[in-house]
Subunit: 345 residues, 2 copies
DNA sequence: TTGTAGGCGTTATCAG
DNA sequence: CTGATAACGCCTACAA
């Protein structure tokens, strides 16, 4: 069957193409029976509107670009995070008959702004969804906004100046985790930080400090180690710290990968987890439930965040009033598994 | 600055729009100096061709759809696999100025064919990349091919009838792994199979059987357990088998997730790996290097496969003669880590 | 409620 | 080598 176009449908239904257009786009002002005639014709001809033509005429692309950081060729530091983002975004795209373009990029790349402008200027995308650390790139965001293209941000570090954005209660939940560890009797709770350039990760450290204070413990800078989110770095600091004079009895990591490194180092050093050392992570990657001992960690509702962010974005694109703008903080939750326990005396 | 179009460029350069078009599309038959005039005008006006217009006129979309199975809302069984696919595909897209549309779907879904037809019929995509188990869905593939849209397949089970496709030497490498285990003195080597619907996974089992035979060992059906690629199922079978009268001394799993389950079950049962039990997986997910003991496994060049598949697809789309069609088997490799060792006596 | 005319920014055709 | 002109299929304005 040949591809049919709007003219074929109009001819078959005995109406004008504009009427067909109205029916297809669910515009008002079409009589029920003419609408039915058109629908029949569409069905009979198996007609589907041509996206390019529609885009050209309407100056829309029905495409959203998801931008995320893709640091290196042979690392997948946060494959789970990215996939959850995609799934959340796709869910909304589907219901709005949009498609999703994925655009991994290096946030350090100077050509990034140009690359993104290109997507906009040739009418390629109608909106952007930026995840951290791209959601912290002021210059990138400004570049996009200047063209009038809508953006939604996931977990931006700066919550004030941002346009549409969605966060979690990172700080509070990290305080909670720290208090939980303190409640188990731990006095020396170490913290391995995340990538310093990712501002939202700094919130986690603040939460850790809050938690210590709220538990009546002091913040020792010697117990705060600078990490880079990598497995290796969890191993490294564990070796360092556990061999020191006054080792911690609990280590709280800014992400699960580092916590896994801690676990592995503990194995090597023959330190029993959780009997001799408690370990907590952040992210709740699938691995954390599979490893032995299963990791106590924090679950971020990444998919829901992407979902929510895209909803807001679509509202903006479609010029709908959105009632969502107020409630854009989603709750993370504590997942207690096997890697944390009472402090040794 | 206002968006400029091809007419603006033509006017400024003092040529016709067709000449501009020629330059933009790198067509022959343009004098060097007129080309330069046009390029200057383009630079000056910051001109970028409008994708929708181009698509409409050329009946191309400059979009490739990547189809993969997305079994459930809250599972991410193979996030790493999917991400590698995406990265490989994106690499080629970038160099060909294509963009990538991701399209997770349920291969059991009856509406899938219709969904895909929709992508084609409204000129949304120029080609498809299908990964397993979608690359085994004859009806889906036929549906697409019937429209004349090119497809490339990753690891289809049926290597003969397939159009453009890319495989690995799954069977051989699994034989190799089995022989390796046998060479360590193991006589009772168990195998946990993958999802039965995914044909390429069956090749792995055949390889296991080959390996046993080549090592002079018998194939015992009691040592072959039907798995479903899940962590849980690795745990389950390990508990079952290790409590039986005549337990295996090595377990080879069709994927790393199941192998991780084996590892965890062994921990629980207080069975030492690799001293009392050797464990091998397949996939080389990041976890496999981080877990303790680190997993012996098989690395599939997923990214390169996607890369290669997309190259072939692009050749087809662009009507180029491809010299790649012959060499579409990429080699997997054995990664020996800590989870395998000499058989206990 | 429906239809007509014109234009969106390219690429393709074919003549020069 | 270059250019005028007609598609491409739809949408927006405006008319009826």
């Amino acid at each position: 069957m040949k591809k049919s176009n709007i003219n074929d449908v109009a001819a078959l239904a005995g109406v004008s193409i504009k009427t067909v257009s109205r029916v297809v786009n669910k515009e008002p002002n079409v009589r029920k029976d003419t609408e039915q005639k058109v629908l029949d014709a569409i069905a009979q001809l198996n007609y589907r509107p041509n996206t390019s033509a529609r885009n050209l005429a309407s100056k829309r692309s029905y495409l959203i670009a998801l931008l995320y950081d893709d640091p290196g060729l042979y690392e997948n530091p946060s494959s789970n995070y990215v996939l959850n983002l995609q799934q959340g975004a796709l869910r909304i795209c589907k219901s709005e008959t949009y498609d999703l373009l994925i655009h991994p990029c290096n946030y350090r790349d100077k050509g990034l702004n140009e690359e993104v402008l290109s997507l906009i200027h040739n009418s390629r995308v109608d909106g952007f969804l930026l995840s951290p650390p791209l959601s912290d790139q002021k210059s990138l965001i400004d570049t996009i906004l200047k063209t009038g293209t809508p953006i939604a941000l996931i977990s931006p570090g700066d919550k004030t100046a941002a346009p549409l954005s969605v966060y979690t209660n990172d700080r509070e939940i990290c305080a909670q985790m720290t208090e939980y560890l303190a409640s188990l009797g731990h006095k020396r709770i170490a913290f391995i930080t995340g990538h310093s350039e990712h501002k939202a990760l700094y919130e986690r450290q603040l939460g850790y400090e809050d938690g210590l204070k709220q538990s009546g413990l002091k913040v020792y800078s010697s117990l705060i180690k600078e990490g880079d989110n990598s497995f290796r770095c969890g191993e490294y600091w564990t070796h360092k710290m556990m061999k020191s004079k006054n080792p911690p009895t609990a280590i709280f990591c800014c992400n699960d990968d580092m916590a896994t490194g801690v676990l592995r180092a503990a194995h090597k050093l023959n330190i029993k987890v959780p009997e001799q050392l408690s370990v907590a992570g952040f992210d709740d990657i699938p691995l954390s439930a599979q490893i032995y001992p299963a990791l106590t960690t924090i679950h971020q509702p990444v998919r829901s965040m992407a979902d929510r962010a895209l909803k807001i974005l679509m509202d903006k694109i479609r010029n709908r009033e959105s009632d969502l703008h107020e409630s854009n903080v989603l709750e993370s939750s504590l997942i207690v598994r096997e890697s944390t326990g009472k402090a040794p005396k």
